[in-house]
């Protein structure tokens, strides 16, 4: 069985995975503590105040603002959590998009039951796409006439990324909603048809990971997966050069 | 004031039927609110929302239509005013006027739809056409429902069922009809004028 996965979270293989795991841990510890206190208190009440032990209930214990202190504690904890932990991480993940020169740009298009990666090639320009040209051999409908598309690399169900470099992914879908989900990178983003959504990830671990679809997209939803191979910079370049260029 | 506003024997003093009608109208506000929100959202946000020119939409005819519906709203309120004074004949006369005006509204609409089809605005021609036919179609269904309600009232009025003391159903039909007119007052500018 693959060593990446165990009983708790899969291995953390991207730069912000550590921070997300941190938030998960904080939240789950808080939940365990709250639930523990509740359970202890309830067990005590069930035993202490059973009818045989306290035949007559206390009529007056029905109103006291002091009793709502657990709510205030949870509210303070949540305010701290959201404004000091949540917002920074969320801004970092969503709005801290890398710029093309120092980041590798990859176009990922989801379709019913396959992921198609689109590398701009040496010129760094994506070829023009036209849906009327889409056929089995040309899944993205690249326009052969367009010079920018001559050196583009298209790879189906195999996404190769360099380790240690920030990758900017232009996510889109052809038909229905899919969801780009790599458990090891702790990344998930719906691929919505008609929208081109930008997200970024910085792999920190070399190896073979798995890209699955997290949004129901039809009968083949369960088998819609692709391999994510994180290689060193040279091997990534070697792989890129070895691929067929253009149409 | 007429007795229908007198304190009913309910906790809130409002007769149950009237409160029920107002609660129903609140849910209708949300129904049309949902549709109109979707229309506004897609019209401002959609990448290709083609709005046909004014001359294709037949604005003068629609203005006449709005005028017809407002008049029917007035005759409805005059009908209620008549029965509150006990004038059953006035009630019947105004009810018939309202029914005729409503039929006239439907007539103008049934002329307008084929005219628009020839102009190329059909339900699947684009978002404007889709929203136009969905919303005005739903509104016409409400107009037809209103006419059936008033037909029922007319039958009872002719049978002499309504008097100064008991004519609550006329008021509830009035509330419903004014709401239908109110929806058209909103639909008219957002489709034809803006």
């Amino acid at each position: 069985m693959n060593s990446n996965y165990g009983w708790w979270l899969p291995v953390a293989a991207s730069s912000y995975a550590g921070r997300i795991d941190g938030s998960l841990a904080i939240l789950h510890w808080a939940m365990v503590i709250i639930f523990g206190l509740w359970a202890v208190y309830m067990a005590y009440c069930l035993i202490r105040y059973r009818s045989s032990a306290s035949p007559r209930a206390d009529y007056h214990f029905t109103e006291s603002m002091k009793a709502l202190t657990p709510d205030v504690v949870i509210l303070v904890f949540e305010v701290w959590l959201i404004f000091f932990v949540g917002v920074p991480i969320w801004a970092h993940i969503r709005e801290d998009l890398p710029k093309p020169p120092e980041a590798v740009t990859v176009g990922v298009t989801a379709e019913q039951f396959a992921w198609t990666a689109h590398y701009p090639g040496a010129d760094g320009q994506f070829g023009k796409q036209d849906i009327r040209l889409v056929n089995a051999g040309n899944p993205l409908g690249l326009d052969p006439a367009d010079t920018a598309g001559q050196d583009d690399v298209v790879s189906v169900n195999t996404l190769v990324l360099p380790v240690g470099k920030r990758v900017l992914i232009n996510l889109s879908a052809k038909d229905v909603i899919h969801s780009f989900f790599v458990p090891e990178f702790r990344i998930k983003q719906d691929a919505v048809p008609g929208m081109r959504i930008k997200l970024w990830v910085e792999p920190t671990l070399e190896g073979k990971f798995e890209l699955g679809c997290a949004q129901l997209c039809g009968t083949g939803h369960y088998r819609m997966r692709a391999d994510v191979l994180v290689k060193s910079a040279e091997e990534y370049q070697k792989w890129l050069d070895a691929q067929k260029k253009g149409i | 004031m007429s007795d229908s506003h007198a304190m009913a024997d309910t906790n809130t003093g409002i007769p149950s039927g009237k409160l029920g009608m107002w609660v129903f109208l609140a849910s209708e506000v949300m129904l049309f609110g949902g549709f109109i929100s979707s229309y506004v959202i897609l019209r401002t946000g959609s990448t290709n929302f083609v709005v046909p020119g004014k001359e294709m939409l037949g604005v003068p005819l629609a203005m006449v239509n709005t005028f017809v519906l407002i008049t029917s709203s007035v005759t409805m309120v005059l009908a209620l005013d008549a029965i509150e004074k006990g004038n059953v004949k006035g009630l019947i006369r105004n009810l018939i006027f309202t029914l005729i005006l409503a039929a006239c509204f439907l007539g103008i609409k049934s002329y307008e739809y084929p005219h628009k089809w020839h102009e190329g605005i059909t339900i699947s021609s684009g978002l404007f056409g889709s929203f136009y036919y969905t919303l005005t179609g739903l509104h016409m269904l409400h107009v037809v429902g209103g006419m059936a309600y008033m037909g029922y009232l007319l039958r009872n009025a002719l049978a002499g069922r309504y008097t100064v003391q008991s004519h609550a159903r006329v008021e509830y039909a009035g509330l419903y009809w004014h709401f239908v007119d109110l929806v058209w007052v909103i639909l008219f500018p957002i489709f034809y004028l803006l």
């Binding site: 998960l24 993940i93 969503r94 019913q112 009968t219 | 906790n11 849910s27 949300m30 129904l31």
Partner: protein, 568 residues
């Protein structure tokens, strides 16, 4: 309006809120059982993917299970119909339709609902919607298969959604008619002396649920009509331009927005999940007050929290859409409103827990269910925290963690409370008691089996197992936690076995249960002041006058430890 009472007008087209309540109860219990059996098929497929379904596998037609092995499309259909049936045909009609119709008029001392005919119309709309939903399995095009959330464009391009949408319009009409009835009845037909601050919490819960339904459901009606037109009339409200499905380009006018459906759907669906929860909380409040022989702790806080939850549930919906392309600015806003809404939920649970302090707890059957509700709903509520918090939701969204969260809230929360409600009000409905021994067997078996099914979902969720997967073993990251599926499937079958004593107990006790007088639990609210079963069409022999609050238990200086609302 005494009509001649024939069999049809007495039992089938009855105007009496009690008969309509029982009709709702039995129909919704049958739908719950049917929805549950759908999930057993799914659980079998998840535990043993690719193996033929035992027993009934051979008899299923080829498009469902060729050679006994389930087809992926059939799995998606089961998933979509399980969600729809359990929510729209099971728990809401049981919580709002059955208990609301039967108990609300009794608790406010009314003779019947404000509009009996609309009440009957509401049931028959629900019945028509339910039958249509069941027929959608066999109608051409088949049943819906794009999840109970039916996200566009999948729901528009895949077969089987049209009949689902039409059935939904019937169900929405039924809920709207019901909510109009509840609001007007609660406002207008309260017994003299029954002010809003003396209303039992069950009536508060039903009243506020009706208001949520009134404002939320029409928006889904609008969204469903738009989707129906997208499917049938070639409009493209939810279809963007240039869609290419299965190799051929969709010839639609385009321009629509996919996110519009999600916004409209969740604008209803989040208030809807509170509609599932509030009646159950109302029932727990009633049973807790009765079982602890003590006025419920913080009556005003709980009623206020109900209202606050209702208002907030309308501005919280987009926390379902954090990763669906929502603007990040908006996700901050909805994360804050989600945090605010967690406050009243915690407040209610704290008040329930604090009402145990200083109590004199009688461990009878309904009280067991109410006590089990507290910790289990606590787990459900707490696991909502990481889902409402965006960084953790990025990872946990659309995984089994989400399924574990809402099943803990709805199944071990609302369902357990509703079962407690059945045991609690059964003597009032039929004048007979349900068998205590079989009740305990059903209680302990259900609670343990439920935890066996739902707790492993959190572990699977943390491992990143996505939801709605026909065969999880295809993806490597699911293999580590695949053995849990076998445990969950076994617990699901055990859960089914433990429902049999409940079903037998329910129908057996209607005729042969041990007879009881009108107030077996020695409760204080008004429904126990009328004979059981209450007089048809009049409920009370003389109209009750309310003199005090709903939960006057153990009043100092009185012999009995309960002081009914209407007694001098």
């Amino acid at each position: 309006m005494e009509r001649v009472e024939t069999f049809w007008s007495k039992y089938v087209f009855s105007l009496d809120h009690k008969v309509i309540g029982i009709q709702y109860m039995i129909t919704s219990l049958l739908f719950l059982l049917f929805g549950f059996s759908l999930v057993l098929l799914m659980r079998w497929q998840l535990a043993y993917p690719g193996h033929p379904i035992p027993l009934i596998g051979r008899f299923l037609p080829d498009f469902i299970a060729a050679g006994g092995i389930m087809h992926p499309a059939a799995y998606n259909t089961l998933g979509a119909m399980h969600g729809t049936i359990m929510i729209f045909l099971g728990i809401v009609p049981l919580g709002v339709g059955a208990f609301g119709n039967y108990i609300l008029p009794l608790q406010i001392g009314a003779r019947d609902m404000a509009f009996p005919r609309i009440n009957m119309l509401s049931y028959w709309n629900y019945f028509a919607g339910g039958v249509l939903m069941l027929m959608s399995f066999v109608l051409p095009g088949g049943a819906a298969q794009s999840g109970w959330t039916s996200y566009a464009p999948l729901s528009i391009v895949s077969p089987g959604q049209t009949v689902w949408l039409i059935a939904m319009t019937f169900l929405i009409t039924s809920s709207l008619l019901g909510s109009i009835n509840f609001i007007v009845t609660t406002l207008n037909l309260r017994a003299p002396g029954l002010t809003f601050s003396r209303l039992p919490l069950f009536v508060w819960a039903q009243f506020i649920t009706a208001i949520i339904l009134l404002f939320a459901f029409p928006v889904l009606q609008a969204a469903a009509i738009l989707q129906l037109l997208d499917r049938v009339a070639g409009t493209s409200f939810y279809l963007p331009t240039d869609l290419i499905v299965g190799g051929n380009i969709l010839d639609n006018a385009g321009g629509g927005s996919v996110l519009l459906w999600q916004h409209l759907f969740w604008f209803l669906a989040h208030p809807e999940v509170y509609v599932l929860l509030l009646p159950a909380m109302g029932i727990v409040a009633e049973i807790l007050a009765n079982g602890t022989r003590k006025p419920i702790f913080g009556y005003k806080e709980i009623a206020g929290s109900f209202a606050f939850i209702a208002f907030l549930s309308f501005i919280v919906w987009a926390h379902h859409m954090f990763v669906s392309g929502l603007k990040t600015k908006l996700s901050y806003l909805f994360m804050t409103t989600t945090m605010i809404i967690s406050v009243p939920s915690v407040a209610i649970l704290t008040c329930f827990l604090l009402s145990l302090k200083g109590a004199s707890i009688r461990y009878r059957l309904p009280m067991l269910f109410a006590l089990a509700f507290l910790p289990l709903f606590g787990i459900g509520g707490l696991t909502g925290l990481p889902l409402g918090f965006t960084p953790t939701d990025v990872y946990l969204h659309d995984t089994y963690y989400v399924i574990g969260h809402f099943h803990y809230v709805v199944v071990t929360g609302s369902m357990i409370a509703l079962m407690g409600g059945i045991y609690y009000w059964f003597p009032k409905m039929f004048g007979r008691k349900m068998n205590e021994k079989w009740g305990h067997v059903h209680f302990w078996g259900t609670v343990i089996a439920m935890n066996g099914v739902f707790f492993p979902m959190f572990i699977q969720g943390m491992a990143g197992v996505q939801r709605r997967l026909y065969d999880p073993t295809v993806q490597a990251h699911n293999l580590a936690v695949q053995p849990l599926n076998i445990l969950m499937t076994a617990s699901a079958f055990i859960l089914l076995l433990f429902q049999i004593p409940f079903i037998w107990n329910f129908f057996h006790s209607i005729f042969k249960g041990e007879k009881t007088e009108e107030n077996p639990w020695q409760a204080t609210t008004l429904e126990w002041a009328c004979p059981s079963p209450p007089l048809p069409h009049r409920n009370f022999d003389k109209e009750p006058v309310v003199r005090r609050g709903p939960y006057e238990y153990s009043v100092p200086g009185r012999g009995e430890d309960f002081w009914p609302q209407d007694k001098p």
